[in-house]
């Protein structure tokens, strides 16, 4: 196991700001305020949830490099959000009730080449559990995974620049995947 490099961890203030960002983001997603959520993303957002397959240990972790459940940029995310505005987006009307639990937040500086002019990038990993209740089903669908994010800091402004969500499931146990994680 890799040793924790103390010099590579962020200071308390940065960690608090990253945590506050992720909580704010989860709040907007849980509230279905998706247009406000889009404003938390950089225009060149790279958002991916790869397909995962069960593998023998020697065959790797099964995280696909080619297949995705979501592989998005700002244009495609905006289209999805616009579709969900419609009363005829049956996968979310009636809406599902979702609750995101974000935990195990780990912050470290990004390599220098990841930085853009006037902004600093932070690597933020977190664990996420999303509880999804649909219709009158008593039991929720639960999705868990690790997010590997890059947050962009410009002064006091924080935006999501990159997200990779590594889900723990291989076969999705839900009729439609109509949420963002």
């Amino acid at each position: 196991m890799k040793k924790l490099d103390i010099n590579q961890t962020a200071d308390d203030r940065i960690e608090k700001e990253c945590t506050a960002f992720l909580y704010r983001e989860a709040e907007l997603l849980d509230a279905w305020e998706l247009h406000a959520w889009l404003k938390l993303l950089t225009p060149d957002i790279d958002y991916r949830i790869p397909v995962r397959t069960t593998r023998m240990k020697k065959n790797g972790d099964g995280i696909s490099k080619r297949a995705f459940i979501l592989e998005e940029d700002m244009g495609s995310l905006t289209l999805r959000v616009k579709r969900l505005d419609s009363d005829y987006a049956w996968s979310e009307n009636p809406r599902s009730r979702t609750r995101r639990m974000v935990a195990n937040i780990r912050v470290s500086p990004c390599a220098a080449e990841g930085e853009t002019a006037g902004a600093k990038l932070w690597q933020v990993r977190s664990n996420v559990a999303v509880y999804i209740h649909r219709g009158d089903e008593a039991q929720p669908v639960v999705l868990t995974g690790e997010r590997q994010d890059q947050l962009q800091q410009s002064g006091a402004t924080w935006l999501l620049h990159k997200r990779l969500v590594l889900l723990d499931t291989t076969v999705l146990g839900m009729d439609a995947f109509s949420i963002f994680i």
Partner: protein
């Protein structure tokens, strides 16, 4: 001669009235959620028909394998060390252990975790522990993994049948090959899989997906209303069903396809760009087939029972050009009211890597668990099973209506001058495709 009913007194009696029901465009609601029907489907349909396993480009190298299902039974789709593609039952000959424990990978051999019997990737038994003390007379040739009785590689698509007496795949496909070939053979290299399949469990009967792809055109404006208003789709598709752009081909040796297309002389090729369409030609297709492809906006069809395809051009955002792709899928049964969807995205082999990435993204954005089209199908199909599984639907003998366009219900006669096989309706107003699907279903279900 005894009636099929008397041969099988345990079967629901409504099964034997379906031939007459279908003549009237009716179908009992229960067939979408009935345990006895489901169990019979497993034996009479999935253990006898040709079922899609995977695409040869998923397992390009010797030892490559992927776990697949026929009905609910586990099989290994594997390219042996000899380069031959096989479909092997994933159950050890000794005590039934699963010799393949993961979804895909590469292996030199398959070893059962229970007692260690091991098999070559060709399925041949390779070793048993304590052979010289305990199995001195065991003939390894007799104890290999059991192969599906028949497999067929149809231009890269691999199908298998569990019926030793099955007719050859090409006969089973029949004249429908004229339409399937259009999806696969526009370029010399054929089609290529662009990634691992999407897999997700949907609380609907497998037939809901299969019948939808045979020409359920009238669901489009209602089910998909949320996406049709956004600028990612050709208006000729969005407005379907309409007379001008729709074409339904049914009764094509038990299979059916729905086509939406531009006016004669106009070219769409499902919005593939020039860098791809310049590889299209008559190398493996007739001029009529290429002409049909050229006008094509959407081709979607089902090879009975549960293999469907959709060839379409869309975009994933309003500011990007549309891109063509082919999605193929299996509606894998997992219970009377439950299925698992397996779907793959393909593009022509000759396309550039950057086009293939684009095609994948567009395919995923529209036809996948997160697809802007598919999301709204899969949350609605469970309704069909829910109603079909009710006591009340059984009590009142509720029948679903498949009468759209049936005989004098419709205003359009079939075409007589169409170059392709099957019965061809020059309109997307009608449910002849779903009726063809259910007639095939009924034939297999009542054939002892």
């Amino acid at each position: 001669m005894s009636s099929p009913k008397s041969l099988d007194p345990d079967l629901p009696d409504f099964l034997f009235d379906i031939e007459e029901d279908l003549r009237q465009g009716l179908l009992p609601a229960q067939i979408y959620n009935n345990q006895k029907i489901y169990e019979l489907e497993m034996r009479r349909i999935f253990a006898r028909c040709w079922v899609f396993i995977g695409h040869e480009t998923e397992i390009p190298n010797p030892g490559d394998y992927a776990s697949r299902k026929i009905g609910e039974d586990p099989f290994i789709f594997v390219r042996g060390e000899d380069g031959v593609i096989r479909v092997l039952f994933n159950g050890c000959r000794h005590r039934g252990g699963q010799v393949c424990l993961d979804e895909s990978g590469n292996a030199d051999s398959f070893t059962c975790p229970l007692h260690g019997w091991s098999y070559k990737t060709s399925g041949e038994l390779e070793g048993v522990p304590s052979k010289s003390e305990g199995y001195r007379k065991l003939d390894f040739k007799d104890w290999g993994l059991i192969s599906a009785p028949h497999t067929a590689n149809y231009h890269g698509l691999v199908f298998a049948s569990l019926d030793p007496d099955a007719k050859p795949f090409e006969d089973y496909l029949g004249k429908f090959r004229w339409y399937l070939d259009i999806q696969l053979l526009l370029t010399k290299g054929g089609m290529e899989i662009l990634g691992e399949p999407h897999r997700w469990v949907v609380n609907a009967n497998w037939k809901s997906g299969a019948e939808n792809f045979t020409g359920d055109s009238s669901h489009t404006p209602m089910t998909h209303r949320s996406i049709l208003g956004l600028k990612i789709i050709n208006p000729a598709v969005a407005n379907s069903p309409n007379k001008k752009h729709g074409l339904h081909v049914h009764d094509c040796d038990g299979h059916a396809i729905s086509i939406r297309q531009l006016e004669p002389g106009k070219t769409a090729f499902w919005d593939y760009p020039e860098e791809v369409t310049r590889h299209f030609g008559t190398q493996s297709l007739s001029q009529d087939q290429v002409d049909l492809a050229a006008r094509g906006l959407v081709h979607d069809g089902t090879v009975f029972p549960n293999f469907s395809f959709i060839h379409i051009g869309l975009s994933d955002s309003e500011d990007k050009a549309p891109a063509g792709f082919l999605s193929v899928r299996v509606w894998q049964p997992r219970g009377a009211g439950k299925m698992e969807i397996w779907s793959w995205i393909l593009a022509p082999k000759e396309a550039s890597d950057s086009y293939k990435r684009r095609a994948y993204r567009v395919g995923m954005s529209s036809f996948s668990p997160s697809g802007s089209f598919e999301q709204d199908d899969v949350v609605l199909w469970p309704m069909v099973a829910r109603t079909g599984g009710t006591v009340f639907a059984d009590k009142v003998r509720m029948k679903y209506n498949f009468q759209m366009g049936l005989r004098d219900m419709g205003s359009t006669p079939p075409m007589t001058d169409f170059p392709g096989p099957g019965e061809v309706m020059p309109t997307a107003v009608g449910e002849c495709g779903p009726r063809t699907f259910h007639r095939s279903w009924h034939r297999w279900m009542t054939r002892a």
